[in-house]
Structure formats: C-alpha cells, structure tokens
Point group: C4
C-alpha cells in the first residue's frame, strides 16, 4: 500500500475537506475513515448475503437497495476525492485511486452484464485502509517485516515455483498416459490440475488414481511433495531468523511509530508522540 | 491458566479444607486433585459413549446415571469451593471459577433444552488443572516457552491472518462468479468456505471446481497456499530459535521448578526442593 | 535400536557362528546379514502380493509356499541365535530378540487364527538391521541427530499434543451438537475423529459439515490448524538450528564413525579405520 | 544442469554455427535460444491442448500438424548440434544431449505405439535451458543455494524417508487387517497407498476407514504425520539458516554473476561486466 498521498489543494474549504477525507491525523479525519470502513464492510456483507438463495428470496430487494445506497455513497466519496485533491489525475491513477474506482464500477456494470456485480468484492481490498487508520506502529512494523522477508526470498521462491511447475507438468502428463485418460484424468491439463492438488497436499479426491501404476506414481509425488513443502518454509524461516537477529541490533525505539502522524524514532519510555502529541 | 488463587479463609476447618481443595502442596491436596481429574475424565467419557447410538441403546440408563452422579459431585465441589474460599465472588468470577461453573450447568440445563448437555465437554477444559497438579517444572517451562513464542509473534500472526482472510474472500467470490453458482459453489459464503478449505490444504472435496477456469484459479490458490503456509511457520521458527538462544544464556537451574511448591532456582545437581523437601 | 549385543559364547565353533550371525565386522558376517535382509524383503513382498486378490488367485499356493519357506528359515535362524549366544535369555528379551521372535510367530499363529499372519509385517522392523550392516557413519550420525533433536523437543511436543487433543475434543463435540448428529457426525468420538482429520489438514471428506454454523466452525478450526502446524515445526527447526550450531563447534572428525567396528573420532583425512583397518 | 559444454569444432562456419547454437554470449546465440524456448513451449502446449477432447475434435489435425512441424524442427536442430560440435558422441551422451534426443523420439515412436507421444512432455525439461539464456546471476545463485541446502541435508532426509516408509508399511498392513479387506482397503499395497495419502496429509478420501478401530488407528497416524512433517522442514530450515549465515560472511559481490559470460566477483557498484562489458 503506497503511502505517497497526492498534493493538498489550495482553497481553504478544500484544504479542510482534504484533511478529513485523505488524512487521518485529525479527529474528524479518523472518524471519516472509520465510517468508511464500516460502510465497506456492510456493503460487502450485503452482497455476500444476497448470493445465498434462501436469504435472497426473502430480503433480496432490501439487500439490493443497501448495495445501491452504498455504491451511491462511494461514488459521491470518489467524486469528492477527485474534487478536493490538487492533482486529480495523480490520485485517479494511484493504486488507492484505482481500487476506489474499481469498487464502484461493478454495481453500475451489473445493469449491463449479469454476474459482474459480484466483482464488488474488490471493495474488500479497500479494507486495507484499516492499516492507514489504526496505524498501530506494531502492526505496520510487523507487516513490513513479513513483506521484507518475502521480498528477500523472492528469487529463491521463484526458482522453487519453476521447479514445482516443471515437476507437476511432467508427472501430470505421465499420469494421463498411465491412467489411460480415465478415472478423471481426461486430459493433460486436468491431470496437471490433479498433480497440483496432490503436491500441495490439498487432495480433494475429485480425481484420484485407480490403477496400481497410477497409485505408485501418486505415492512418489506425495512423498516428494513432503520434502518439497520443506523448501519454502526453510527459505522463509531462515530469512526471518536472519531478519530477527538484524532487527535486535537496531535500537528498540525504531519499532514504535506514531499511529496518527507516523513519526518514527520515539524513545522507549515515550508515552506521547514527539511530533503530534498523540498518545502512543 | 491464571495461578492467582483467592485469599485463604479464616476459621480452622475452612483453612484445612481450603488447603485440600485449592492447593496441591500437601498429600491430601494432591490426592483430591488427582481424584478430581479421574472424575472429570470419567464423566467426559460417559457423555462421549452415550452419544454413540449402539452403546446408548444398551447402556444409556447407566451412562446417564453416571453423568448425573458426577454432576452432583461437581456441584458439591463447587459449593464447597465457594464456602471455604475467603472471597467467594472473586473465585466465582475468576477464569477457573467460571470454567468450574460452566462444567456443571449443561447437565442441569439439559432438563430444559435438548442438546445443551453435550456442552459439558467444557469439562475437558478442567483437565488443564492437570498442569497444576503434576506441575513438573519441565512441562510448565515448555508450555510457557510455546506461549511466549506465540505471544511475541501475535502481531505478525494477526497481520498474516488478515491477509489470508482478504485473499480467501476475494478468491471465494471470484470462484462463485466463475463456477456460476453451481458445483457446490452455491453462494459467496460457501465459496469462501471452499477457499479456506483449499488454502489451508485440508481439501475435503465436498466442493471442488469443475470448469477449466475454476480449476485454474484453484491451482493458483493452492500454489499460493503453498507459499503462504511458510509464513506462520517461519514466524514461529524464527521466534523460537531466538528464544532458545536467549534461554541458553540464562543459567540452567532456572528451568527446574518444584512440582509441589513451585520454588524455582534449584541447583542443577539438586535432587530435592530447597523449600519443601519434595523429590524434584 | 540398541547396539548392546549379548556376550559371546565359549566353544570355538559357537564363537565362529556367533561372529557370522551376530556381528558384521567380517566378510562372512556381512554376507550373512545381507542375505538375511534380502530374505526379509522377499518374505514381506510375498505376503503383500498375496493380499492382492488377482495375484492371490493365480499364484496363491506359490506365495504361501514362499512365506512358509522363509518362516522356516527365520525359525532356524532364531534357534541358531539362541544356541550360539552365551546368554540366550538376555538375547530373547532384548529388543532385537523380541522383534526376531515376533516376526516368526504370525505365520505359525495363522494356522489357528485367520488374519494374524498379516502381522508378519512386523518383519519390516527387522529391516532396521540395515543400519547395522551398512553402518555408514554418515547415516548413523544423521539418524542420531534427528533422534536427539526430537528427544530434546519431547516435552514441548507433549505439551503441544495435549493442547491439540483438548482443542479437538471440544470442537469435535461442538460439531456434534451443531450438525445435530447428522451428515456423518453421528457420535462424539466420530466428530472428534473428524476434528483430527481437519486440524491435521488431511481432510478426507468422508465427513464434512453441511450446515452454515458447522462450516463456520470448521473454517475456524482450519485456520487454527494453520497456525498450529507452525508450532511443532518451529520447535524442531529451532532445536535443529541450535544443534547444527553446536555441532559446528565440535571438531568435524567426531561425525565419521567406522561402518564396521563403529570406532569414532577418526581424523578428517583418515581413509581407513584406526581400529579395524576397514576402508571408511 | 551441467554447464560443461562440448569442445568447439574446427572449420570457420562450424565455429560460427557452434557459437549460435551452443553458446549464448552473442546476440545471435541468445536470439537462437529464445526462439528455441518459444518453440518448446508452443509444442508442449499443442500436445496438451490435443489431449483435451473438445479441442481435439475441432483442431486435432492442426495441432498434430503443429506437433510434427516442431518435431521436425527439433530433429533438424539436433542433427545440427551433432554436426557442428567437435565431439558429437560427448554431446550425444551428455545430460543435455540425452534430453534433446528424448524430446524428439516420442512423436516418432507414436507412429508405432499409441500413447508414447505424450512422453514428449520430456520436452518441458528442455525449458531448464531458460536458466542458461537469462542467466541472471541472482537466479543461478538462488537455485544453487537451494540445491546446496538440499544436498547437505540428503542423508538426514534419506534416514527420515526410510523411517516414514517403514511406518507406512506397518500401519498400512495393520489397517488392512483391522478393516478386514473392506472399505477400499482391499490389499496390503492399497492400504500402504492409503497410509501414504494420510501421513502426507493429502487425504483424497477415495479410501477412508469406517470401523472405530480403523478410525482410531488413522487418528494416531495423522497426529504422528503432524509431528513428522516438522522433521524435514526443521532439517532444511536449519540448513538454510546456517547457509545464510555463512553466505553473509562472504563479500556481497560474490553473488552477482554476469548473465552473458558468467564472470563472477563484480564490485557491488558495477553496472557492466568487467569481462564482456554486458549490462549486468
């Protein structure tokens, strides 16, 4: 989630609106964000419930009304954001801006195309704003820790995934030949799907080998999957163990970040932010 | 499990009863606790067996009698505890007090409402007292070690769970759209349930994708689940590796705790507790 | 596998026979052990194949003959062992002696009781002798490494298992109540079986929740299982990481053990055992 | 993947052809390899699509033509390789040479034997050449890191696998006896297959225990599988943690390798290879 916010606008009321809508270092700003989060959750829950037939049969009209109400609200919010921001295009093409836009479109598009409205689940991505609001230093720090560890391991994980995909392709095709295109192994892509289901130890059982040779091959794949699962875990564990050690060298106050203004580097004993005076 | 016990009462017999019922540093106290544990196990087993129809048909009356017998016993014990403790309310609202109470209620409530009596499995939570009785220093230490490692990782694990839940919501909804509400993906909540079953690699197979697009999406989710499982493991491993190293600095006799009086800091060569003389 | 061998006998031919049968530091001794291993594998494979109906129908008589032949051979070998050993009872009641005995009994017992002969799979345990024969220092060292790491973690793992069993009991019973004894959750023990299948992420799908509440509870259990699986892995990883570090301090030649006489502490450059002159 | 290339040939045009076909340090050489990769992917995809009946019914003739076209191309390429290389036999019996050969054979063999043509998936192994072309130092380094960690753990993993296989054999046979050859446990090999499916937590559910004793035994196996999965993960994690630490001692520029001439030891600030001047 990028924290680079668009530049603030000029006129006074726009500036005030900007602080409320875009920032969260004032009481009004945080209330706005909290209300937004609740609205997002409610609108997503409404769509989910509507997809359940027994509920839809009874409360369908109400739920659709709720959905349109929130879509209207989000449209209004989106237009406001475009209005008060100094450079609307910069916002519109930022990651947050695109997510904001995409979370309105599906409901509107549903007038034209059935099914598309379920895409409003993209709205759930807006929930990631939660980290912006309750910016508890701890959470941000831990999230960054995980992301950093994964990033540092990304080449290892890519090499590992390439190896797994090759394995899965070869064994999937072998199974197609061995099971003779029967017992659910009706094509090579389907057999590869089975191999993925097996090597990841998910094992639905919708397709499973029946011939002795097939079951033997499957056993080999499973035991390999056993050893294979150890690799990504080992990579990430080693990375995190290293990162934890590195982190312990850095003075502890680097970990605490003000949850309002994000000022870092507080003393360990500090109870209030040295920049905005908010309780830490 | 909180170790903070309620204050002892005044009168002599109450004091003696208190030592037997609440504490386990006397022979009588430990015998009481051991008898209690056996009673708990027997009462839980009785309820379990009764739920098996073939057994219930034959021994139903006997098993129900056993259950009522133990419930009566536990009620008596609970009243005794309230009586001998100096501050009954403090005990009644402590964690152990609530568990003690909840383990009696279901049987009584079953007179009014069918099914509720199975809730007496809450009684199994009383088994956690086992750690109080056989307080083998080793076990307590190891338990604390695990709990500490998990606590230290709790923010990382929360961030991780939030990410998994968002992923599961988005992919679950996509699958609902892709599979067209068929093949078991009959609603968004159900599709999210499927996504959880898949990403955790449980894979019941009660719901599984049938369309090519659905199977492709499922494959992506499974491979992601593969990488994802590495994260919590990495977190806990790194934490424990760190804790193990930290622990090795602390002198070894800090690990041994007397299983009767919980006195810590025994010398490594000590065979008896320096406080109560119990064999370590 | 205990390496404590019974004391050698007195008379000359017994001594020679003892060296061949019990020890593996002579060419004859190793040939004997190798022949024994092949016999064990063949006898186990024969029983396995006989259990396959299509094979049993054709080659049943032959396979049964093979089994009786090997059982006779093993009986002879067992009697020989008793004869040449100085203290027959010590051998008979040692772990290896008991395994040797148990691997003969099932075939004989099958004359009296159907099914019992399949227990000759206990013979596979005799295969563990392989480590005695090809006692490649590397393998012994690595095996000991794993066992040591698991032993050091045994208390942590026990505490962990106790927690998992409590969790599984409570959630299993809840599911029995929630699903109303239907959809396969026909009794509490069966529901606990389901909970174990789920929390270990095996997920057969022979029993799976159908009600919304049941699926929600199952989702919680799965996500918990996700976090839970991290614990034993973390424990063992941390232990092994520690052991690896500790091992690297010890001079490297401690790792190499003579595969014939098991003499330890060879110099890193050594090509032959300092005790028996065998090639390392 | 062995990097040892056959010796270059003598005559001028052969030398030029050699550089294009076998090496990738010229623009022409890299273009050749890239074209080859695309051809491999296309030919594999063609075979996969043809195995899907609905696609095969419509585009079968076209897809078969595509396959024969690429097979012809690869045959031509293989002959070229034999021609321009100085020692054709050395190439023909190198790992890459054998893979190159095997990826042509299946299509030709399909004229004689049905099914054999699906073996052209061996062609996917040729994709491993990708690492040769885009020899991004990072990838090569990471791949080697994983391979090294796995190699260093190979004895531990072998011991572990031996233990798992013994466990699976013993429990599989027990289940065959316990379930009485019914409920899918129709033979010992099939029961062992079930045990592997269970202990690896794949859990298809095509075979699952029905009797109480069987489900109890299965529960024990699952809980053991739980603890067992921790072992390979622990091994690899510990190995990687150690390797990471070791790697951090080596100066960082050892990690960057020129993706054209593979020259190592670039300075961290270097933007171009010190040997061939290629952009790093």
């Amino acid at each position: 989630m990028p924290n680079r916010l668009p530049e603030p606008p000029q006129s006074a009321w726009k500036q005030r609106a900007y602080r409320v809508i875009f920032e969260s270092d004032t009481r009004a700003g945080r209330n706005f964000d909290a209300a937004l989060l609740i609205a997002i959750v409610l609108s997503v829950v409404a769509v989910m419930l509507e997809s359940v037939q027994s509920i839809s049969a009874r409360y369908g009209t109400f739920l659709r009304a709720v959905e349109w109400f929130f879509t209207g609200l989000f449209l209004l919010e989106y237009l406001m954001r475009l209005l008060v921001v100094r450079r609307p295009l910069t916002y519109a093409f930022s990651l947050l801006g695109i997510i904001d836009f995409l979370s309105i479109v599906p409901t509107l598009a549903s007038l034209l195309m059935f099914g598309s409205r379920y895409l409003i689940v993209i709205r759930t991505l807006r929930l990631l704003r939660v980290f912006r609001i309750f910016k508890l230093g701890q959470f941000v720090g831990e999230g960054e820790f995980i992301v950093t560890a994964l990033k540092a391991s990304r080449f290892k994980i890519l090499v590992f995934l390439a190896a797994v995909l090759t394995l899965v392709t070869v064994i999937g095709t072998l199974m197609y030949v061995v099971e003779g295109g029967q017992h659910g192994f009706s094509s090579i892509p389907k057999s590869i799907y089975w191999a993925i289901v097996t090597v990841t130890t998910v094992g639905y059982g919708d397709i499973s080998p029946v011939t002795i040779l097939g079951q033997t091959l499957a056993s080999v794949l499973m035991i390999m999957g056993y050893a294979i699962i150890a690799v990504p875990t080992g990579i990430v564990s080693a990375q995190m163990a290293g990162a934890t050690k590195a982190a312990s060298v850095i003075p502890p106050y680097k970990q605490v970040v003000c949850h309002v203004c994000q000022a870092p580097d507080h003393k360990p004993e500090a109870e209030y932010c040295w920049r905005c005076g908010e309780k830490l």
